[in-house]
Symmetry: C2
Subunit: 217 residues, 2 copies
Amino acid sequence: MTEVATAQKADGPRSTRKRQAILAAATEVFLKSGYLGTNMDEIAALSEVSKQTVYKHFASKEALFIEIVTSMTGAAGDSVHDQAPEFDESGDLATYLHDYAERQLIVVLTPRLMQLRRLVIGEVSRFPELAKVLYERGPQRAMTALATIFERLAERDLLTIDDPMVAASHFNWLIMSTPVNQAMLLGDSAIPSPEELRRHAADGVRVFLAAYGKQQS
Amino acid sequence: MTEVATAQKADGPRSTRKRQAILAAATEVFLKSGYLGTNMDEIAALSEVSKQTVYKHFASKEALFIEIVTSMTGAAGDSVHDQAPEFDESGDLATYLHDYAERQLIVVLTPRLMQLRRLVIGEVSRFPELAKVLYERGPQRAMTALATIFERLAERDLLTIDDPMVAASHFNWLIMSTPVNQAMLLGDSAIPSPEELRRHAADGVRVFLAAYGKQQS
DNA sequence: CAACAGTACTGGACAGTCTAGTTTTATGCA
DNA sequence: TGCATAAAACTAGACTGTCCAGTACTGTTG
């Protein structure tokens, strides 16, 4: 245990630490002020680094922005999907879907992620590639994963599914639409509480199962 | 017929014409470049008006922006709702809902409205009120109207509905989510064709009726 | 010696104002 | 009605003050 991964700071050579500090500060500032609203002096000040050093690590404001958005997007996408269990035969399908939905909601409905989404949407015309990446690593990825799950459940005769991708889309948006769209326009304060999310997930799952489930309970 | 309402230009006194020209130009520029990315000289040039005149009509860039977004938001909201017929007893409920969905999709999925939505979302932290207005006159209004319709249909025993607002939300997002979210992040070129929208509407209505309809066909 | 801090600097953009001269519209009078 | 004239709105463009991305320079530190 000579090497400690104590997270946060004091890690690696100075250059690397500075780089991390810049990335962290830039993330805050960009999320807070948008691309055009951000100035590089503020990033330098917040990361306690000279402006020169910022430009040593990143060629331009644009490069720094792309770096940050790309990395946040990837990280967020991963954290949603690295913990999805398979359906246990003995359990209840509704419960399984409900848990799946709730997990998804909790991870996605984070102020930072909502702010990232607003930021990227607002910059679609300036950075179309970033938005495309966010779409692919966000909704697209979630729905593809769901489609695979649904396909298996259909093979096991637990669901009646025509087009798995359509079903996945329906499930995904039944769950995510309301809170995401509210958060987009009404701000982070409109993000529902965990209890509200649970109720909301239950409603969505009920509708989904009415359309795609086997027996009507 | 001494007074001709020949639309577009040459209408009313000069001052009014100029004002309209400024509003039209500003709308284009703001939609294209965003709030911070827009400069007032470009608006003046595009509207073929001097900068002075712009400032005679609007106190500031901010005031002009608010004016434009508010008016576009209102107009769009109206055009969605001023043409919603009631359900004709003799017709098919699925067809009625399908038509309703299709109308909504066609009106909302316009490049200008999608761009407006991106713009407002990107400026949530700077103009939270504008975003709130867009939410209320957009999704909120649509869902309230739907809830009323569903309540009547439930009274007529054509639907089985617990909470009309929840049902309205489910219907609304089953229909709107996929295309709207795609358009948000993938750009206007991702807006589906009318045929695709029709198919998409059919899928959404099918799921909705499975959950809220009376007989399972 | 390479990466850093601190800070001054360059060059350009841009919101909003100012000035001086022109055009439109409103008003009053014959 | 028609015409003069004043008030209001307009044009063109220069100008102020500020902000900011990116650079340059002079030391200082790991």
